[in-house]
Amino acid sequence: MVVLNFTLSEDGVAVLHDALACMFKFSDEVCLEARKEKLTLTTLNISKSAYVCYSFAANRFFSRYKFEGSPQYREKFSCQLYIKSLLAIFRTRQGGGETAPGRDASIERCDVAIDDGVGKKSRLVARISFRNGITASHSLPYEVKAPTHAKFNEHDAGNHWAISSKTLRQLMDHFGPGIELLDINTDEESNLVNFTCFTEKVQKRGGVNSETVLKKPLHTNIAVEMDEFDNVQVEDKLHIIISVKDFRAILQHAQITSGELATRYSNPGRPMKLYYKADGIKCEFILMTVGEKDAKEQRHKTPRPNASVKGPRPELDAASHRASSLSTSARQQAPPEPTPRTVAQAPQQPQNPTPARPRHPPAFDLRPPQLPPPGTAQSEDSMFMGPAPEDEADEDHQWAPVNPDEDEEEEENARLEWNSTSDPNPSTLRISSYLQKSSTGTDNTPPDRQTSGLDPTQRLSQVRGFGLFAD
C-alpha cells in the first residue's frame, strides 16, 4: 500500500539535495516523517549535541504531494534512511550542454513513493524522469522508526537576533584555520556583537610532567556592529559558545537557501536554536551550547587552565603562563620554614648529626668515590638530610662546587623562574650570591633556598654512593 506519494520538480530535487548535503555534515542517517500537511526530515548527530529539522510544506514545495496513510499509519509515517544513498539519487544531473529536446539529460521530474504494509517489501521508490526520455528508478530499503525530536523552549530563550545569512557567511571567511568553538557575545557599550573563535585543542609538549600547550593559540574576534542585525535583544556580555563545524554547515546551507537567519537562546549550557525559512521550507537547527559548568569540569580534568570558556579572555595568557611555571612558582612562594614535605621525609633519612664522617651508608658503596672539594669536608654528612635548616645550608655550601653539572642545571632553573614570574630580584637566585650568603650566615639560608627553587629530587646522601663525591 502506498503510504506517501510526492513529485518534485528539478529545482525541488536541487533544494532537497542541498538540505540532505547539509544534514550529512551532522549525521549519516535521516529520519523522514510524513504528515498530511508537511514532510519533515530530521537528524540528530551522534553526540546528540546538534539536531537538524527541515519541514517541507506539502502545498508549496512539492508539485504534487499526497499522504495516503494506511491503517497502521493514519496520522503520520516515519522511517529512517541513509543520507548517502539519498544524496546519490537526489542530485542534479547536468544537461550536457544540449538544450535540444530529447537530448537534454537533466531531470524533468522526480516521483517518490513509499510503499509499506503487511507482506510488502518496505521500499522508498524514487523514479526520476529525464528530459531525454530515460527513466531511472531507485528503490531504497528503510527502517520504520519514530524520529527523535529535540525540544526547545521558546519562552525560556529570551535572547534573540537575526541577520542576513549572506553577511554572516562572509564573516565566516575570517575564521581562523583549525578552530573549533565560536563564542558569540555582545557589548552594548560599543554597540557590537562579537564572534570570537578559538580552539582548545592541546598537544603534549612531552617532558616529565606532560605539560600541554595550545595547538593553535589563535583567537580571532570579529566584531560586528549591531546595526547589521535585526531584532537584537541579548543580555549584555552573555557569552554563548557553539561548535564552529556545526555553525559552518548551517551557514553554508542558509546562504544558498534563505535571506535571513535568526537565532534564539537563553544561557550557556542550554540549547540554542537557529532557524530560517525559504519558499515552502523551514529549517531549524538546535545546537547545544558549551556550558560554564562543562568548561570548569574540563579544567579540572585536564591540566589546561586556559579552558576557561567564559568571560573576556585576557586570562588565557595569564593562565597558560601559570601552567607552565606552576611547579616552580609554587616552590618560590613557599614559606621560609621547612615545608611539610621536607619534614615528612626527614625521618627516612639516615640521620647523622655528628660531624664525624660515616659518610657512605653501606648501601651506596657501589660507585668509586670522588675527591671532596677542599674546605667543604666538615659538614658533608648533614647535607639535605638534617631536619635543621642550618645543616641544609651547610650541605649546599659543600654541594655546589662539587657538582658543576647540577650547578648549571640549577642556574637554568633559576633563570626559567624569574623569566616566568618576573621576579624583581633575580640576583638572589644566582648560585654564587646564594653561596656567599650561605657561607656568611646560616640563619637566612632556608628562605634563600626556597627562593632559589633548589628542591632536590633526591637527597644528596642518597646519591653520594654513586661516585659523585669523594670520600
Partner: protein
C-alpha cells in the same frame, strides 16, 4: 642479418592523444595483446576470459605506416595464421599496457614538471586544483606539440620501440615484448543476434553513473519488444537497487531490433563499468546480444580534426550462467511490478 632486413613494422604519428585515448578505454588489465597487420594495429585485452576489449589503431591515424610482415613461409611458428588463410598475415606479441600508456603520455612531460613546480610555489593553484590533474591545454593532454612519435618493431622477439621527439629532446622507449598467449576472442555469433540497439554512448554512461552509487554486484540488461524496450537493472547493491529504462524518449534508440520477445542477461557490474572510459569518448554505441547471451558493445569514436574518420572500440561480455540468471530475473520481475504499482 636483422640489421639488413627492413623492420617488420614502422609508423610515425604526430599526435599520441588519440592513440592514448583509444588504449586507455581498454585499460583494465596489465597485458595487452598486440596484432600488427598491414591495415593497422589491433590491441586486445582480456579479463578472466569473460570480458574482452579491443581497440584498433587504424593506419590512418599515422602519418606514415609501413609493414613488412613475414609471409606464410616465415610464419611457421604462428600456426594460427596458417589455419585462417583468409585473414591477412600478422605479427602478434604482448606488451605491458600500463607501460605503453605511460610512454604515450611522455609528450609534454617537461611541461608537467614545470607545472608541478609552479603549483608548489603558488599555493592557490596547489590547493584549488588537484596537483596531478592535467591542464586541459597542456601538451601532455593534447598529446602533441611539434614533436613526432615513431613506433617500430624490428623483428620477432625484439623490443617494441617508441621514439618520441619533441623540441630537441628525444626519448627512446623500448618495451619488452612477450610471447603471445593467443587468447581466443570471446565467441560472438553475429548470425544469431538476440537484439541490436544503437544509442548514444553518453546515455549508457549516464545510466551506469546512475546505478553505480549503490555499488551493485550485477547488472541485468533486458531488451524487449514492448516498453520499456531497453532496461538496465542493478542487482545486489548494498544501498538498494535501481533500474534505468529507455522507454519514453523518441530519439533515444536509433536502431532497435529484438528478435524474440525478450532478451535478458546478467553481467558483473564492475566489468561493464570498466568500459565507461569508452562510453566517455565515444559518440555512439551499438549493443548486441547473441543467442548465447554474450553481449557485444561496439563504440564509435569520432576523430576530430583533419581526418574526420571514425575508430571503433569493441567490448564483449560473457553473462552469468543461466541458472543464476533466472533466479535474479524472477526477483527483478517482482520489483518491476512493485514499481509499476507505485508509479
Amino acid at each position: 642479418m636483422d640489421a639488413q632486413d627492413p623492420p617488420i613494422f614502422r609508423a610515425v604519428a604526430s599526435s599520441t592523444r588519440l592513440l592514448y585515448q583509444l588504449l586507455k578505454a581498454i585499460n583494465f588489465t596489465n597485458k595487452v595483446h598486440v596484432e600488427i597487420t598491414a591495415e593497422g594495429i589491433r590491441f586486445s585485452t582480456d579479463h578472466a576470459r569473460v570480458m574482452q576489449g579491443v581497440a584498433h589503431w587504424n593506419k590512418t591515424l599515422f602519418t606514415s605506416y609501413t609493414t613488412n610482415i613475414p609471409t606464410l613461409d616465415d610464419s611457421n611458428n604462428n600456426p594460427d595464421d596458417e589455419d585462417d588463410d583468409p585473414t591477412p598475415p600478422s605479427v602478434t606479441f604482448q606488451l605491458s599496457l600500463p607501460t605503453l600508456l605511460e610512454t604515450l603520455q611522455i609528450f609534454g612531460a617537461a611541461d608537467a614538471a614545470a607545472r608541478q613546480a609552479r603549483s608548489d610555489v603558488d599555493p592557490y593553484r596547489s590547493t584549488n586544483l588537484r596537483n596531478n590533474r592535467p591542464d586541459a591545454f597542456s601538451n601532455q593532454t593534447l598529446g602533441m606539440s611539434n614533436g613526432t612519435c615513431s613506433l617500430s618493431y624490428n623483428s620477432e622477439g625484439d623490443p617494441f620501440s617508441i621514439i618520441l621527439e619533441e623540441g630537441g629532446v628525444k626519448t627512446t622507449c623500448n618495451l619488452t615484448t612477450y610471447v603471445p598467449e593467443i587468447p581466443e576472442d570471446i565467441p560472438f555469433d553475429i548470425e544469431d543476434l538476440g537484439f541490436k540497439i544503437i544509442t548514444q554512448a553518453r546515455w549508457l554512461l549516464d545510466a551506469l553513473a546512475e546505478l553505480a552509487p549503490a555499488s551493485p554486484e550485477k547488472l541485468a540488461i533486458t531488451a524487449s519488444k514492448t516498453a520499456p524496450y531497453l532496461k538496465l537493472t542493478s542487482v545486489g547493491g548494498a544501498l538498494g537497487s535501481g533500474g534505468i529504462d529507455f522507454a519514453q524518449g523518441k530519439d533515444l534508440l536509433e536502431t532497435f531490433t529484438v528478435r524474440k520477445k525478450k532478451w535478458s542477461q546478467t553481467f558483473k557490474f564492475d566489468m561493464v563499468k570498466a568500459a565507461s572510459e569508452a562510453m566517455r569518448i565515444a559518440t555512439k554505441v551499438s549493443l548486441r546480444g547473441d543467442g548465447q547471451g554474450v553481449l557485444s558493445m561496439q563504440f564509435l569514436v569520432e576523430i576530430g580534426g583533419e581526418g574526420g574518420g571514425v575508430c571503433f572500440l569493441d567490448f564483449r561480455f560473457v553473462p552469468y550462467a543461466d541458472r543464476d540468471d533466472e533466479e535474479t530475473e524472477s526477483g527483478e520481475d517482482d520489483e518491476e511490478e512493485g514499481m509499476e504499482v507505485d508509479g
